[in-house]
């Protein structure tokens, strides 16, 4: 290497050093997601929460999306090796990975989402318990009140504990609010397959369902197409975000999830040295009901009243070992 080249390289390195130093000074957080961040749904809200936390606490953040469980361990090890001290698992399917790695990689702190409080939580892990079943109880209640055919459909993605407990809570809501109503539900096998979700919804509509509770992500688009093509009016719910523009005449309500709140609080505590704890996302705490549309005002009022009961602590059985 000649002298000029050496000088140019040295100057370039010197110029880069302040930027590197600045980046190195920032603490790092990574998020692992099971789906794509352009799903406009579960993964998108997780990504947005990560970006918000980055701004609030001046963190260097990174994310990996569409991660299958088989790859999660490798990806996590790569993040920790690269100096990421906080690893957020935005999905309950990554619990075994967290349980395995947290004791091994004690310099990192995990934020693990689950359907509730995890037993034997490692000392360097936070647990976000997402009580889907409580929110879905309210959606089931709305369906029970709004249905004219007494048949409420439910389009379910993958047979995970969160979804199983939610199916059971919707069934419970029907028993409590409208015992005449029947629950029709299917497993699509995928949260993000709109074609299969449409087929599922069409089967339920053909069987008489006039209200559908939706527990899929991108699959919602398929359900909406089925509803729009239905020979009679069919109403539906959604969750995570509001999506009124997709089906303004059919959507009734959205169960809004605000992941900013738990992540903001937990990351703040981790940065101060508190490396374990539990945060429950439930109606009234990170989980809110949007405005209710396309149903009579009396139905909307009763649904809001039921939501308030759930917020206040109404007991809803958590059944995970069987389905209706």
């Amino acid at each position: 290497m000649d002298r000029r080249s050496f000088l140019a390289l040295t100057l370039a390195g010197a110029a880069a050093r302040p930027h590197l130093a600045a980046a190195q000074a920032k603490r790092k957080m990574a998020m692992i997601m099971p789906g794509p961040i352009q799903d406009a749904d579960f993964n998108a809200v997780g990504y947005l929460a990560l970006q918000q936390v980055a701004k609030t606490y001046d963190l260097q953040v990174s994310h990996s999306e569409s991660v299958v469980v088989a790859d999660a361990e490798r990806i996590t090890r790569e993040y920790v090796t690269a100096g990421y001290e906080i690893v957020a698992n935005h999905g309950g399917q990554f619990i075994p990975i967290m349980n395995k790695l947290a004791p091994q990689l004690s310099n990192a702190t995990w934020i693990q989402e689950a359907s509730g409080r995890l037993p034997n939580l490692p000392k360097n892990a936070w647990n976000i318990g997402r009580k889907f079943l409580q929110g879905f109880y309210v959606l089931g209640a709305l369906g029970a009140l709004a249905t004219k055919s007494n048949k409420v459909g439910m389009v379910c993605g993958v047979r995970l504990p969160d979804v199983i407990t939610s199916v059971n809570s919707v069934a419970q809501a029907l028993r409590d609010v409208n015992p005449q109503a029947q629950l029709l539900y299917n497993w699509v096998g995928d949260f993000n397959d709109p074609v299969k979700a449409r087929q599922t919804a069409e089967a339920q509509i053909a069987a008489g369902a006039d209200f559908i509770v939706v527990f899929v992500n991108l699959g919602l688009s398929g359900v909406i197409e089925a509803v729009k093509a239905a020979p009679r009016p069919v109403l539906l719910t959604t969750f995570y975000t509001e999506k009124w523009d997709l089906a303004p005449k059919n959507l009734t309500v959205s169960l809004i999830f605000d992941f900013n709140k738990p992540y903001h609080e937990i990351v703040g505590k981790i940065l101060k040295g508190e490396r374990t704890g539990y945060y429950e996302m439930r109606p009234g705490s990170g989980m809110e009901l949007s405005e209710i549309r396309n149903v009579p005002p009396s139905v909307a009022d009763k649904t809001r009243a039921i939501f308030k009961e759930v917020v206040a602590g109404k007991a809803i059985p958590e059944v995970v070992d069987k389905t209706p």
Binding site: Q38, G189, D193, V195, E202, A203, S221, I224, L246, T323
Partner: protein
Amino acid sequence: MTPWLLVDPHLWHQTLVYAAPLIIAALGELIIERSGVLNIGIEGMMLVAAVTCFVVTWQTRSAAAGIGAGMLAAAILALLLVYYAVALRGPQITVGLGLYVLGVGLSSLIFRVVFGVRTSPPQIQTLAPVPVPGLADLPVIGPVLFQQTLLTYLAFLLVPVVHLALFRTPWGLRLRATGENPRSVDALGIDVAALRYGAAVVGGLLIGLGGAYLPIVLTGTFSDNMTAGRGWLALMLVIFGRWMPFTALGGALLFAYVEAFQFKAGLVEKAVPSQFLLMLPYLFALAVLVRIYRGARAPRALAVPYDREARG
């Protein structure tokens, strides 16, 4: 479970709707394979066609423009395959796999670049059913057969058209001969490469139409990997359908029927695990088509690069 479920008119209506993209893609692949080129990149081509159709329709508010763009996108990928197969005499399976992987990544990238991260997914208007006057009101068969979208009608009309083109026209004879014995075709002064390129364009356009069908008829949106294996299924339909249009049609109808049936069965029968029901269409189609495949013979020159300078 009532036996009436098996002959439910709504079930048959759904069968036709969901068989259509399989049929269209399978016909496209059939034309390409009959010319002697093996294309296993159908899944990737369908994905690129789906995202192209979606993006163009969203931008232009024109379904025709979107469908055309989707078809063109797949045809370009098919031309790429045939260029490698014919001009470079490259390994067709490897290139096909490469196109599949390219299609998966490219379709996702295009969607991400155009739409970014949103909290509400972009949506397009799907095609509405077009009832056939007079026939749509016939009892039972009217709603099943004559209240479908234009693309669904086209899918079924294409089957006899492709069959006639392949087996009743000089072009079809030359194409099939190219797939069986390209040297004899060459000896007659017919351009083998031109035939194969032509087959790629036609086949690619049809594969693209099959991919475009998904967003423009079924979902109104695009999602990563939305073909969910339908491209591979179309390939299977061609092979196990003995490279015959009507047999491929039968296979597509069988798969779509069992797929529609399993959702209805899942509503009334809870004793059967849902995972088994989801697996059922694939098991059924495989079992029946493997039986039909017995004795079938692939085009003799399929996946064999043709070199007119080679001796023997």
